[in-house]
Symmetry: C2
Subunit: 214 residues, 2 copies
Amino acid sequence: MNIPVVEKILSSNDTLADENRAMLDAAGVFGINMMASPGAGKTSLIEMTLQRLGGELRLGVIEGDLATSLDAERAQRAGATAIQINTGGNCHLEAYMIRDALRQLPLSELDLLIVENVGNLVCPANWKLGTHKNILVASIPEGDDKPYKYPGMYRGVEAVVINKVDLLPYVPFRMDYFKQGIEVLNPGVEIFSLSCRTGEGMEAWLTWLKGLRQ
Amino acid sequence: MNIPVVEKILSSNDTLADENRAMLDAAGVFGINMMASPGAGKTSLIEMTLQRLGGELRLGVIEGDLATSLDAERAQRAGATAIQINTGGNCHLEAYMIRDALRQLPLSELDLLIVENVGNLVCPANWKLGTHKNILVASIPEGDDKPYKYPGMYRGVEAVVINKVDLLPYVPFRMDYFKQGIEVLNPGVEIFSLSCRTGEGMEAWLTWLKGLRQ
């Protein structure tokens, strides 16, 4: 009985997502939807990206969180134009939330917009936001079985960032097994191995990001 | 328009959860709902618990996963009577899934039943399963801000296990700040700091678990 309602919500979400895309395109802003498990390091990756690219690209950030504005404060301190969305307990961002945030951002003054989704490896994959690329941030301590256990998320992204490679000596993690899982679900997807803490591997990620600029 | 439908679903879930509880009580089985972010170490904690308590308690495990049976295989290898629930993409377990699993388990031959929920720090908090205690497994590499960012989950549990303390020397993590966040949301909640990898701190957790036995 509730299935038609859910379908209607998803379809109306897609319509709003298309409108968001049109708004970004009109302003020449490239949009990224960054998804991850809680604590994989999305906010740290955004901070490092801002520090390294802030002089070359004008970056905006939309932070999605259940309740606080901790992440938007971190992004603002790092130099971004940041908007916080509090989902009020909702486990993922939806297109209407992004539309409201886009209206508050000075889009004509931005080149790249990073949307940090709620930390969740399941639900965000089902909700288009209107961004141009979906990116998944994974991290070494989460374990090498995650592509196998959360296939929906790994299947729907255009790039996977493997963060916290500095912890490889301290945790059991078979990189080959992990990458094989990704490759089966999402052949040819871009993969970046890096550490936001040590800076290792950041260069390839930043070069790729700069190439996305519209 | 969809709100009444959602309410009806939640209320019917609660009724089924009550029935599950009655089924566990009748069989003298103590049930635990174990929740966590993906990769916090729920399955490892279950494995270590089985290894250490297998001789004293008869343990059953219900594993909730999106698609695979990887975790049930790990629990079975560690000596548990294990049932796998594949949620088919659903981001949390619901009481009806547990009811079906309970019917397949030899409840009269068990003392303790651990339900491993889907790795997700948001949605599982809203769905009662009929277990006696809710437990959250956190882990050091997730970061010390998680109680502040996922308050619903930290508020609704009777115990928090802080796993992977062996990684404390390698990641920034303020234990005081983390515990303060928990204490504000959930005063007096049981907290266990341990490492499934090194075995550090396991004793207090195991003693607590044994005390729960009906």
